[in-house]
Protein backbone atom coordinates (compact mmCIF):
# COMPACT_ATOMS: atom_id res chain seq x y z
CA UNK A 1 0.00 0.00 0.00
CA UNK A 2 2.65 2.52 1.02
CA UNK A 3 4.66 2.20 -2.18
CA UNK A 4 1.73 2.98 -4.48
CA UNK A 5 1.86 6.01 -6.77
CA UNK A 6 -0.69 8.82 -6.50
CA UNK A 7 -2.47 7.60 -9.62
CA UNK A 8 -2.78 4.12 -8.07
CA UNK A 9 -3.97 5.50 -4.73
CA UNK A 10 -6.47 7.75 -6.46
CA UNK A 11 -7.82 4.84 -8.45
CA UNK A 12 -8.00 2.65 -5.32
CA UNK A 13 -10.07 5.32 -3.58
CA UNK A 14 -12.45 5.58 -6.54
CA UNK A 15 -12.82 1.80 -6.83
CA UNK A 16 -13.65 1.70 -3.08
CA UNK A 17 -10.75 -0.70 -2.43
CA UNK A 18 -10.12 1.43 0.65
CA UNK A 19 -11.51 4.65 2.05
CA UNK A 20 -9.54 7.81 2.67
CA UNK A 21 -10.00 7.20 6.41
CA UNK A 22 -8.39 3.75 6.05
CA UNK A 23 -5.59 5.14 3.90
CA UNK A 24 -4.99 7.98 6.35
CA UNK A 25 -4.95 5.64 9.35
CA UNK A 26 -2.55 3.33 7.52
CA UNK A 27 0.00 6.12 7.03
CA UNK A 28 -0.55 7.53 10.54
CA UNK A 29 0.28 4.05 11.84
CA UNK A 30 3.48 3.98 9.80
CA UNK A 31 4.46 7.39 11.19
CA UNK A 32 3.79 6.13 14.74
CA UNK A 33 5.84 3.00 14.08
CA UNK A 34 8.86 4.52 12.34
CA UNK A 35 9.18 8.21 12.97
CA UNK A 36 10.63 8.02 16.47
CA UNK A 37 13.92 7.00 14.88
CA UNK A 38 13.65 9.14 11.74
CA UNK A 39 12.40 12.39 13.35
CA UNK A 40 10.90 13.57 10.06
CA UNK A 41 7.78 15.12 11.61
CA UNK A 42 7.61 18.05 14.04
CA UNK A 43 3.84 17.79 14.44
CA UNK A 44 1.53 14.90 13.53
CA UNK A 45 -2.10 16.00 13.17
CA UNK A 46 -3.88 12.71 13.87
CA UNK A 47 -7.32 14.11 14.71
CA UNK A 48 -7.67 16.72 12.00
CA UNK A 49 -6.27 14.24 9.46
CA UNK A 50 -9.02 11.73 10.21
CA UNK A 51 -11.66 14.48 10.08
CA UNK A 52 -10.34 15.66 6.71
CA UNK A 53 -10.30 12.04 5.49
CA UNK A 54 -13.96 11.63 6.47
CA UNK A 55 -14.84 14.76 4.52
CA UNK A 56 -12.85 13.42 1.56
CA UNK A 57 -14.74 10.14 1.69
CA UNK A 58 -17.99 12.09 1.49
CA UNK A 59 -16.76 13.91 -1.60
CA UNK A 60 -15.67 10.62 -3.14
CA UNK A 61 -19.07 9.09 -2.40
CA UNK A 62 -21.01 11.97 -3.95
CA UNK A 63 -18.82 12.18 -7.04
CA UNK A 64 -17.48 15.64 -6.14
CA UNK A 65 -13.91 14.47 -5.84
CA UNK A 66 -10.87 15.86 -7.64
CA UNK A 67 -8.05 13.55 -8.66
CA UNK A 68 -6.13 13.94 -5.37
CA UNK A 69 -9.14 13.99 -3.04
CA UNK A 70 -8.52 11.69 -0.07
CA UNK A 71 -4.74 11.41 -0.64
CA UNK A 72 -2.63 12.01 2.49
CA UNK A 73 0.24 14.53 2.37
CA UNK A 74 2.59 16.38 4.68
CA UNK A 75 3.62 20.03 4.57
CA UNK A 76 7.05 21.34 5.41
CA UNK A 77 6.68 23.20 8.71
CA UNK A 78 7.35 26.46 6.87
CA UNK A 79 3.89 26.66 5.31
CA UNK A 80 1.40 28.39 7.59
CA UNK A 81 -1.43 26.05 8.61
CA UNK A 82 -4.47 27.63 10.26
CA UNK A 83 -4.82 26.40 13.85
CA UNK A 84 -1.74 24.16 13.66
CA UNK A 85 1.70 25.03 15.03
CA UNK A 86 3.99 26.36 12.30
CA UNK A 87 7.46 26.35 13.84
CA UNK A 88 9.78 26.73 10.83
CA UNK A 89 12.11 24.46 12.82
CA UNK A 90 12.82 27.28 15.28
CA UNK A 91 12.42 27.89 18.98
CA UNK A 92 11.34 31.39 17.91
CA UNK A 93 8.09 29.96 16.52
CA UNK A 94 7.73 26.93 18.81
CA UNK A 95 4.52 28.49 20.20
CA UNK A 96 3.27 29.95 16.89
CA UNK A 97 -0.18 28.67 15.92
CA UNK A 98 -0.64 30.10 12.43
CA UNK A 99 -3.78 32.25 12.18
CA UNK A 100 -4.24 31.54 8.46
CA UNK A 101 -3.41 29.02 5.72
CA UNK A 102 -0.67 29.49 3.15
CA UNK A 103 -2.06 29.50 -0.39
CA UNK A 104 -0.36 26.13 -1.06
CA UNK A 105 -2.04 24.66 2.02
CA UNK A 106 -5.43 26.17 1.11
CA UNK A 107 -5.18 24.75 -2.42
CA UNK A 108 -4.36 21.25 -1.13
CA UNK A 109 -7.31 21.49 1.28
CA UNK A 110 -9.62 22.62 -1.51
CA UNK A 111 -8.48 19.64 -3.58
CA UNK A 112 -9.56 17.38 -0.69
CA UNK A 113 -6.07 16.26 0.28
CA UNK A 114 -5.52 15.10 3.86
CA UNK A 115 -2.71 16.68 5.91
CA UNK A 116 -0.96 14.15 8.17
CA UNK A 117 1.34 16.72 9.77
CA UNK A 118 4.17 19.18 9.49
CA UNK A 119 7.67 18.02 8.64
CA UNK A 120 11.02 18.77 10.21
CA UNK A 121 13.43 21.17 8.53
CA UNK A 122 16.54 23.23 9.06
CA UNK A 123 15.74 26.27 11.19
CA UNK A 124 14.09 28.89 8.93
CA UNK A 125 15.21 26.69 6.00
CA UNK A 126 18.82 27.68 6.68
CA UNK A 127 20.93 24.57 6.31
CA UNK A 128 21.83 21.76 3.93
CA UNK A 129 21.70 18.83 6.35
CA UNK A 130 18.64 19.27 8.60
CA UNK A 131 20.93 19.54 11.60
CA UNK A 132 20.03 23.15 12.45
CA UNK A 133 16.44 22.27 13.45
CA UNK A 134 15.38 23.18 17.00
CA UNK A 135 13.64 19.78 17.02
CA UNK A 136 16.79 17.77 16.38
CA UNK A 137 18.29 16.31 13.22
CA UNK A 138 16.37 14.15 10.75
CA UNK A 139 18.01 10.85 9.79
CA UNK A 140 18.52 9.59 6.25
CA UNK A 141 16.34 6.44 5.87
CA UNK A 142 19.08 4.81 3.75
CA UNK A 143 21.69 5.12 6.50
CA UNK A 144 20.69 6.43 9.91
CA UNK A 145 24.21 7.77 10.56
CA UNK A 146 23.95 10.18 7.65
CA UNK A 147 22.00 13.37 7.04
CA UNK A 148 18.97 13.52 4.73
CA UNK A 149 20.14 16.86 3.31
CA UNK A 150 18.27 20.08 3.80
CA UNK A 151 16.49 22.17 4.33
CA UNK A 152 13.39 20.14 3.38
CA UNK A 153 14.96 17.05 5.00
CA UNK A 154 11.85 16.04 6.96
CA UNK A 155 9.56 16.04 3.91
CA UNK A 156 12.11 14.16 1.87
CA UNK A 157 12.91 11.54 4.55
CA UNK A 158 9.18 10.97 5.18
CA UNK A 159 8.54 10.35 1.48
CA UNK A 160 11.67 8.19 1.09
CA UNK A 161 10.62 6.03 4.06
CA UNK A 162 7.03 5.84 2.72
CA UNK A 163 5.54 7.50 5.81
CA UNK A 164 3.52 9.73 3.49
CA UNK A 165 2.90 9.38 -0.25
CA UNK A 166 3.77 12.98 -1.08
CA UNK A 167 4.96 16.17 0.61
CA UNK A 168 5.62 19.83 0.00
CA UNK A 169 8.98 21.50 0.38
CA UNK A 170 10.59 24.83 -0.34
CA UNK A 171 13.77 25.62 -2.22
CA UNK A 172 15.85 28.78 -1.79
CA UNK A 173 19.22 27.39 -2.93
CA UNK A 174 18.53 23.68 -3.37
CA UNK A 175 16.40 22.83 -0.34
CA UNK A 176 14.02 20.58 -2.30
CA UNK A 177 16.50 19.11 -4.78
CA UNK A 178 19.61 18.45 -2.67
CA UNK A 179 17.77 16.38 0.00
CA UNK A 180 15.77 14.64 -2.75
CA UNK A 181 19.09 13.54 -4.25
CA UNK A 182 20.49 12.41 -0.90
CA UNK A 183 17.37 10.37 -0.05
CA UNK A 184 16.55 9.04 -3.52
CA UNK A 185 13.23 10.76 -4.22
CA UNK A 186 11.87 13.12 -6.88
CA UNK A 187 11.80 16.82 -6.00
CA UNK A 188 10.89 19.80 -8.15
CA UNK A 189 11.53 23.51 -7.70
CA UNK A 190 9.20 25.39 -10.07
CA UNK A 191 9.93 28.63 -11.92
CA UNK A 192 10.15 31.53 -9.46
CA UNK A 193 6.60 32.87 -9.17
CA UNK A 194 4.80 29.73 -10.41
CA UNK A 195 3.76 28.68 -6.87
CA UNK A 196 2.47 31.33 -4.47
CA UNK A 197 4.73 32.34 -1.60
CA UNK A 198 1.78 33.67 0.44
CA UNK A 199 1.96 32.04 3.87
CA UNK A 200 5.41 30.59 3.24
CA UNK A 201 7.64 31.89 6.02
CA UNK A 202 10.18 34.05 4.20
CA UNK A 203 13.91 33.33 4.10
CA UNK A 204 15.15 35.06 0.91
CA UNK A 205 12.18 36.49 -0.95
CA UNK A 206 13.75 36.77 -4.41
CA UNK A 207 14.79 33.09 -4.31
CA UNK A 208 12.20 31.16 -2.22
CA UNK A 209 9.89 28.81 -4.11
CA UNK A 210 7.64 25.95 -2.96
CA UNK A 211 7.29 22.65 -4.78
CA UNK A 212 6.46 18.91 -4.61
CA UNK A 213 8.52 16.04 -3.13
CA UNK A 214 7.35 12.71 -4.50
CA UNK A 215 8.18 9.17 -5.60
CA UNK A 216 8.14 9.97 -9.30
CA UNK A 217 7.67 12.63 -11.97
CA UNK A 218 4.00 11.86 -12.59
CA UNK A 219 3.17 12.40 -8.90
CA UNK A 220 5.11 15.66 -8.98
CA UNK A 221 3.10 16.84 -12.00
CA UNK A 222 -0.17 15.94 -10.26
CA UNK A 223 0.68 17.92 -7.11
CA UNK A 224 2.05 20.83 -9.13
CA UNK A 225 -1.31 21.00 -10.91
CA UNK A 226 -2.88 21.59 -7.48
CA UNK A 227 -0.45 24.05 -5.90
CA UNK A 228 0.65 26.30 -8.78
CA UNK A 229 -1.16 29.28 -10.22
CA UNK A 230 -1.52 33.04 -9.96
CA UNK A 231 -2.18 34.45 -6.50
CA UNK A 232 -3.03 38.10 -6.01
CA UNK A 233 -1.69 37.83 -2.45
CA UNK A 234 1.86 37.20 -3.71
CA UNK A 235 3.24 40.28 -5.44
CA UNK A 236 5.76 38.19 -7.41
CA UNK A 237 3.26 35.54 -8.54
CA UNK A 238 3.31 34.99 -12.32
CA UNK A 239 0.11 35.75 -14.21
CA UNK A 240 -0.17 32.89 -16.66
CA UNK A 241 -2.70 30.42 -17.94
CA UNK A 242 -2.51 27.36 -15.70
CA UNK A 243 -0.91 24.51 -17.68
CA UNK A 244 -1.63 20.82 -17.17
CA UNK A 245 1.78 19.62 -16.03
CA UNK A 246 0.89 15.99 -16.81
CA UNK A 247 0.09 16.72 -20.47
CA UNK A 248 3.62 16.21 -21.85
CA UNK A 249 4.75 13.30 -19.66
CA UNK A 250 4.48 10.71 -22.42
CA UNK A 251 6.06 12.79 -25.18
CA UNK A 252 8.81 11.05 -27.09
CA UNK A 253 12.19 12.59 -26.24
CA UNK A 254 13.86 11.46 -29.45
CA UNK A 255 15.98 14.32 -30.75
CA UNK A 256 15.61 16.36 -27.55
CA UNK A 257 18.78 18.39 -26.99
CA UNK A 258 20.21 18.00 -23.51
CA UNK A 259 23.12 20.16 -22.38
CA UNK A 260 25.81 18.88 -20.04
CA UNK A 261 27.29 21.64 -17.90
CA UNK A 262 31.03 21.46 -18.41
CA UNK A 263 31.77 23.20 -15.11
CA UNK A 264 29.67 20.72 -13.09
CA UNK A 265 31.54 17.59 -14.16
CA UNK A 266 34.98 18.68 -13.00
CA UNK A 267 36.83 19.10 -9.77
CA UNK A 268 34.73 18.65 -6.63
CA UNK A 269 32.40 16.00 -8.07
CA UNK A 270 32.63 12.64 -6.30
CA UNK A 271 33.84 9.87 -8.64
CA UNK A 272 31.00 7.52 -7.66
CA UNK A 273 28.38 10.20 -8.38
CA UNK A 274 30.05 10.93 -11.71
CA UNK A 275 29.92 7.27 -12.71
CA UNK A 276 26.21 7.01 -11.91
CA UNK A 277 25.52 10.09 -14.03
CA UNK A 278 27.50 8.74 -16.97
CA UNK A 279 25.27 5.66 -16.89
CA UNK A 280 22.13 7.84 -16.79
CA UNK A 281 23.35 9.77 -19.80
CA UNK A 282 23.78 6.49 -21.71
CA UNK A 283 20.27 5.42 -20.69
CA UNK A 284 18.79 8.67 -21.95
CA UNK A 285 20.79 8.43 -25.17
CA UNK A 286 19.07 5.11 -25.80
CA UNK A 287 15.73 6.90 -25.86
CA UNK A 288 17.03 9.23 -28.53
CA UNK A 289 18.06 12.28 -26.52
CA UNK A 290 21.06 14.09 -27.96
CA UNK A 291 23.73 15.38 -25.60
CA UNK A 292 26.05 18.29 -26.07
CA UNK A 293 28.43 20.13 -23.77
CA UNK A 294 27.48 23.64 -22.66
CA UNK A 295 29.25 26.17 -20.49
CA UNK A 296 27.99 28.35 -17.66
CA UNK A 297 31.13 30.47 -17.31
CA UNK A 298 30.04 32.30 -14.14
CA UNK A 299 28.69 29.25 -12.31
CA UNK A 300 31.67 29.10 -9.92
CA UNK A 301 30.43 32.42 -8.49
CA UNK A 302 26.92 31.20 -7.75
CA UNK A 303 27.67 30.07 -4.16
CA UNK A 304 29.43 33.28 -3.04
CA UNK A 305 26.83 35.62 -4.57
CA UNK A 306 23.99 33.44 -3.32
CA UNK A 307 25.24 33.89 0.20
CA UNK A 308 25.36 37.68 -0.19
CA UNK A 309 21.86 37.92 -1.69
CA UNK A 310 20.17 35.25 0.43
CA UNK A 311 21.68 36.47 3.69
CA UNK A 312 20.97 40.12 2.95
CA UNK A 313 17.32 39.24 2.34
CA UNK A 314 17.27 36.93 5.37
CA UNK A 315 18.50 39.65 7.72
CA UNK A 316 15.72 41.91 6.48
CA UNK A 317 12.98 39.24 6.56
CA UNK A 318 13.89 37.96 10.02
CA UNK A 319 13.82 41.42 11.59
CA UNK A 320 10.11 40.78 12.17
CA UNK A 321 10.91 38.39 15.04
CA UNK A 322 11.04 40.97 17.78
CA UNK A 323 8.94 39.42 20.54
CA UNK A 324 6.09 41.93 20.08
CA UNK A 325 3.30 40.36 18.02
CA UNK A 326 3.88 36.59 17.96
CA UNK A 327 6.45 33.93 18.70
CA UNK A 328 9.00 33.80 21.49
CA UNK A 329 9.55 36.66 23.96
CA UNK A 330 12.28 36.59 26.61
CA UNK A 331 11.32 36.67 30.31
CA UNK A 332 11.41 39.93 32.32
CA UNK A 333 12.72 42.36 29.70
CA UNK A 334 14.39 45.40 31.30
CA UNK A 335 13.56 47.70 28.40
CA UNK A 336 12.63 47.50 24.72
CA UNK A 337 16.18 46.99 23.47
CA UNK A 338 16.84 44.28 26.04
CA UNK A 339 13.63 42.56 24.91
CA UNK A 340 14.64 42.59 21.24
CA UNK A 341 18.20 41.42 21.89
CA UNK A 342 17.46 38.64 24.35
CA UNK A 343 14.35 37.46 22.48
CA UNK A 344 16.42 37.05 19.33
CA UNK A 345 19.43 35.58 21.16
CA UNK A 346 17.19 32.94 22.78
CA UNK A 347 14.87 32.29 19.84
CA UNK A 348 17.40 31.82 17.03
CA UNK A 349 19.97 29.02 16.70
CA UNK A 350 23.63 29.46 15.78
CA UNK A 351 23.30 29.15 11.99
CA UNK A 352 20.39 31.59 11.79
CA UNK A 353 22.29 34.14 13.90
CA UNK A 354 25.37 33.70 11.71
CA UNK A 355 23.30 34.39 8.60
CA UNK A 356 21.47 37.38 10.06
CA UNK A 357 24.80 38.85 11.15
CA UNK A 358 26.42 38.44 7.74
CA UNK A 359 23.31 39.76 5.99
CA UNK A 360 23.22 42.76 8.30
CA UNK A 361 26.87 43.46 7.51
CA UNK A 362 26.51 43.29 3.71
CA UNK A 363 23.48 45.59 3.76
CA UNK A 364 24.94 48.09 6.23
CA UNK A 365 25.96 51.62 5.29
CA UNK A 366 29.19 51.68 3.29
CA UNK A 367 29.10 48.02 2.26
CA UNK A 368 25.86 47.73 0.25
CA UNK A 369 27.44 48.58 -3.14
CA UNK A 370 30.48 46.37 -2.63
CA UNK A 371 28.45 43.33 -1.66
CA UNK A 372 24.70 43.25 -2.35
CA UNK A 373 24.73 45.36 -5.51
CA UNK A 374 27.83 43.62 -6.87
CA UNK A 375 26.21 40.23 -6.20
CA UNK A 376 23.04 41.33 -8.03
CA UNK A 377 25.16 42.32 -11.03
CA UNK A 378 26.80 38.90 -11.13
CA UNK A 379 23.36 37.37 -10.68
CA UNK A 380 22.46 38.90 -14.05
CA UNK A 381 25.60 37.40 -15.62
CA UNK A 382 24.59 33.96 -14.32
CA UNK A 383 21.10 34.41 -15.71
CA UNK A 384 22.58 35.47 -19.10
CA UNK A 385 24.73 32.30 -19.10
CA UNK A 386 21.55 30.23 -18.88
CA UNK A 387 19.84 32.29 -21.60
CA UNK A 388 22.78 31.59 -23.92
CA UNK A 389 22.71 27.88 -23.02
CA UNK A 390 18.97 27.57 -23.72
CA UNK A 391 19.56 28.91 -27.24
CA UNK A 392 21.57 25.72 -27.86
CA UNK A 393 19.70 23.08 -25.86
CA UNK A 394 16.18 22.28 -24.56
CA UNK A 395 17.08 20.93 -21.13
CA UNK A 396 20.23 21.02 -18.99
CA UNK A 397 21.48 17.99 -17.06
CA UNK A 398 24.05 17.56 -14.31
CA UNK A 399 24.58 16.20 -10.81
CA UNK A 400 22.22 17.52 -8.10
CA UNK A 401 24.82 17.33 -5.33
CA UNK A 402 28.60 16.80 -5.41
CA UNK A 403 28.49 13.80 -3.04
CA UNK A 404 26.04 11.32 -1.56
CA UNK A 405 24.73 11.85 2.01
CA UNK A 406 27.47 12.73 4.50
CA UNK A 407 27.65 11.74 8.16
CA UNK A 408 25.72 13.62 10.82
CA UNK A 409 28.05 16.20 12.36
CA UNK A 410 30.63 16.06 9.55
CA UNK A 411 30.16 19.62 8.30
CA UNK A 412 28.47 21.42 11.19
CA UNK A 413 31.57 23.34 12.28
CA UNK A 414 32.57 24.36 8.79
CA UNK A 415 29.88 26.62 7.27
CA UNK A 416 31.61 27.09 3.90
CA UNK A 417 31.99 23.35 3.22
CA UNK A 418 28.33 22.95 4.14
CA UNK A 419 27.35 25.81 1.79
CA UNK A 420 29.22 24.10 -1.07
CA UNK A 421 26.88 21.08 -0.95
CA UNK A 422 24.40 23.29 -2.86
CA UNK A 423 26.94 24.25 -5.52
CA UNK A 424 25.00 22.74 -8.45
CA UNK A 425 21.50 23.80 -7.44
CA UNK A 426 21.93 27.43 -6.40
CA UNK A 427 22.33 28.96 -9.86
CA UNK A 428 18.74 27.94 -10.76
CA UNK A 429 17.35 29.93 -7.84
CA UNK A 430 19.44 32.94 -8.82
CA UNK A 431 18.12 32.73 -12.39
CA UNK A 432 14.60 31.71 -11.26
CA UNK A 433 14.56 28.61 -13.49
CA UNK A 434 12.59 25.40 -12.85
CA UNK A 435 14.71 22.38 -11.90
CA UNK A 436 14.27 18.94 -10.41
CA UNK A 437 16.22 16.06 -8.94
CA UNK A 438 15.37 12.44 -9.73
CA UNK A 439 16.93 9.20 -8.47
CA UNK A 440 19.64 8.03 -10.87
CA UNK A 441 21.30 5.14 -9.07
CA UNK A 442 23.52 4.39 -6.10
CA UNK A 443 27.11 4.98 -5.09
CA UNK A 444 28.27 2.83 -2.13
CA UNK A 445 24.62 1.95 -1.48
CA UNK A 446 23.59 5.59 -1.12
CA UNK A 447 21.23 7.34 -3.58
CA UNK A 448 22.51 9.70 -6.27
CA UNK A 449 20.38 12.44 -7.81
CA UNK A 450 20.21 13.61 -11.40
CA UNK A 451 19.53 17.35 -11.87
CA UNK A 452 17.38 18.56 -14.74
CA UNK A 453 16.99 22.27 -15.46
CA UNK A 454 14.39 23.70 -17.83
CA UNK A 455 13.80 27.09 -19.36
CA UNK A 456 11.32 29.51 -17.73
CA UNK A 457 7.90 27.90 -17.19
CA UNK A 458 9.04 24.68 -18.91
CA UNK A 459 8.27 22.47 -15.92
CA UNK A 460 6.30 20.15 -18.21
CA UNK A 461 9.40 19.57 -20.32
CA UNK A 462 11.70 18.52 -17.47
CA UNK A 463 8.86 16.41 -16.05
CA UNK A 464 8.62 14.76 -19.48
CA UNK A 465 12.35 13.88 -19.47
CA UNK A 466 12.12 12.67 -15.87
CA UNK A 467 9.05 10.53 -16.61
CA UNK A 468 10.67 8.99 -19.69
CA UNK A 469 13.78 8.22 -17.63
CA UNK A 470 11.58 6.61 -15.00
CA UNK A 471 9.97 4.42 -17.67
CA UNK A 472 13.43 3.12 -18.58
CA UNK A 473 14.82 2.68 -15.06
CA UNK A 474 13.54 1.66 -11.65
CA UNK A 475 15.87 3.68 -9.43
CA UNK A 476 12.86 5.67 -8.19
CA UNK A 477 11.23 2.43 -7.03
CA UNK A 478 14.13 1.39 -4.78
CA UNK A 479 13.19 1.67 -1.09
CA UNK A 480 15.26 1.68 2.11
CA UNK A 481 14.94 -1.82 3.65
CA UNK A 482 14.53 -0.67 7.25
CA UNK A 483 11.19 0.94 6.31
CA UNK A 484 9.70 -1.73 4.04
Amino acid sequence: MHTKTLAELSSGLRQREYSSVELTQYFLDRIAKYDNKLNSFITVTNDTALAEAKAADKRLATGEADILTGIPLAHKDLFCTHGVRTSCGSKMLDNFIAPYDATVVAKCKAAGMVMLGKTNMDEFAMGSSNETSFYGPVKNPWDMNTVPGGSSGGSVAAVAANLVPIATGTDTGGSIRQPSALCGVTGLKPTYGAVSRYGMIAFASSLDQGGPITHNAEDAALLLNVISGYDKRDSTSIQQELPDYTADLNNNIKGLKIGLIKEHFGEGLDAGVNEVLNNSIKELEQSGAVFQEISLPHSHLSVPIYYIIALGECSSNLSRYDGVRFGHRCDDPQDLLDMYKRTRAEGFGAEVKRRIMLGTYVLSAGYYDAYYLKAQQIRRLISEDFKAAFKQVDVILGPTAPTTAFEIGAKMNDPITMYLSDIYTIACNLAGLPAMSIPAGFSDNMPVGLHLVGNYLKEAQILNVAHQYQQLTDWHKQKPVDFS
Binding site: P99, P304, V324, I356, Y361, Q377
Partner: protein, 95 residues
Protein backbone atom coordinates in the same frame (compact mmCIF):
# COMPACT_ATOMS: atom_id res chain seq x y z
CA UNK B 1 40.11 39.87 5.43
CA UNK B 2 39.76 39.77 9.15
CA UNK B 3 36.81 41.55 10.75
CA UNK B 4 37.78 43.38 13.94
CA UNK B 5 35.93 42.15 17.03
CA UNK B 6 34.40 45.64 17.45
CA UNK B 7 32.85 45.36 13.99
CA UNK B 8 31.15 42.09 14.98
CA UNK B 9 29.83 43.74 18.13
CA UNK B 10 28.49 46.59 16.00
CA UNK B 11 26.79 44.15 13.61
CA UNK B 12 25.22 42.26 16.53
CA UNK B 13 23.88 45.56 17.82
CA UNK B 14 22.43 46.46 14.40
CA UNK B 15 20.90 42.96 14.16
CA UNK B 16 19.56 43.27 17.73
CA UNK B 17 21.04 39.98 18.90
CA UNK B 18 22.67 39.68 22.34
CA UNK B 19 25.90 37.67 22.03
CA UNK B 20 28.16 36.14 24.64
CA UNK B 21 31.94 36.71 24.53
CA UNK B 22 32.52 33.20 23.15
CA UNK B 23 29.89 33.72 20.44
CA UNK B 24 31.55 37.01 19.46
CA UNK B 25 34.91 35.32 18.99
CA UNK B 26 33.31 32.42 17.07
CA UNK B 27 31.41 34.75 14.72
CA UNK B 28 34.47 37.00 14.29
CA UNK B 29 36.33 34.06 12.80
CA UNK B 30 33.43 32.57 10.82
CA UNK B 31 32.22 35.85 9.34
CA UNK B 32 35.81 36.70 8.33
CA UNK B 33 36.12 33.30 6.62
CA UNK B 34 32.86 33.78 4.74
CA UNK B 35 33.87 37.28 3.64
CA UNK B 36 37.16 35.83 2.36
CA UNK B 37 35.19 33.21 0.48
CA UNK B 38 32.92 35.76 -1.25
CA UNK B 39 35.95 37.86 -2.20
CA UNK B 40 36.12 35.93 -5.51
CA UNK B 41 33.22 38.14 -6.66
CA UNK B 42 35.74 40.89 -7.24
CA UNK B 43 37.51 38.94 -9.98
CA UNK B 44 34.62 39.87 -12.30
CA UNK B 45 34.30 43.28 -13.92
CA UNK B 46 30.66 44.32 -13.55
CA UNK B 47 30.87 47.84 -14.95
CA UNK B 48 27.56 48.84 -16.57
CA UNK B 49 25.81 45.56 -15.64
CA UNK B 50 22.30 46.29 -14.40
CA UNK B 51 21.74 44.63 -11.00
CA UNK B 52 19.14 41.85 -11.11
CA UNK B 53 16.67 42.13 -8.25
CA UNK B 54 14.04 39.71 -9.55
CA UNK B 55 14.48 36.62 -11.69
CA UNK B 56 11.80 37.64 -14.17
CA UNK B 57 12.45 41.38 -13.92
CA UNK B 58 8.85 41.91 -12.90
CA UNK B 59 7.72 45.22 -11.52
CA UNK B 60 5.36 45.70 -8.59
CA UNK B 61 1.74 45.27 -9.58
CA UNK B 62 -0.74 48.03 -8.82
CA UNK B 63 -4.25 47.42 -7.58
CA UNK B 64 -7.33 49.47 -6.82
CA UNK B 65 -7.05 51.26 -3.48
CA UNK B 66 -9.96 49.44 -1.87
CA UNK B 67 -10.33 47.40 1.30
CA UNK B 68 -9.84 43.76 0.34
CA UNK B 69 -9.23 42.08 3.70
CA UNK B 70 -11.52 41.85 6.73
CA UNK B 71 -10.49 43.12 10.17
CA UNK B 72 -9.07 40.16 12.10
CA UNK B 73 -7.32 42.07 14.88
CA UNK B 74 -8.60 39.93 17.75
CA UNK B 75 -7.83 36.72 15.88
CA UNK B 76 -4.27 37.82 15.17
CA UNK B 77 -3.72 39.16 18.69
CA UNK B 78 -4.65 35.79 20.20
CA UNK B 79 -1.09 34.64 19.59
CA UNK B 80 0.66 37.78 20.88
CA UNK B 81 2.89 37.52 23.98
CA UNK B 82 1.10 40.41 25.75
CA UNK B 83 -1.87 42.56 24.78
CA UNK B 84 -4.29 44.94 26.48
CA UNK B 85 -7.43 46.56 25.04
CA UNK B 86 -6.44 45.56 21.51
CA UNK B 87 -2.93 46.95 21.87
CA UNK B 88 0.40 45.12 21.90
CA UNK B 89 2.23 45.63 25.21
CA UNK B 90 6.00 46.15 25.31
CA UNK B 91 8.33 47.40 28.10
CA UNK B 92 7.86 51.08 28.85
CA UNK B 93 9.61 53.27 26.25
CA UNK B 94 8.77 56.79 27.48
CA UNK B 95 9.41 57.70 31.13
Amino acid sequence: MSLPKEEVEKIANLAKIALTESEISMYTKQLSDILDFVEQMNTVDTTDIIPMAHPLDATARLREDVVSESDQRDHFQNIAPQIENGLYLVPQVIE
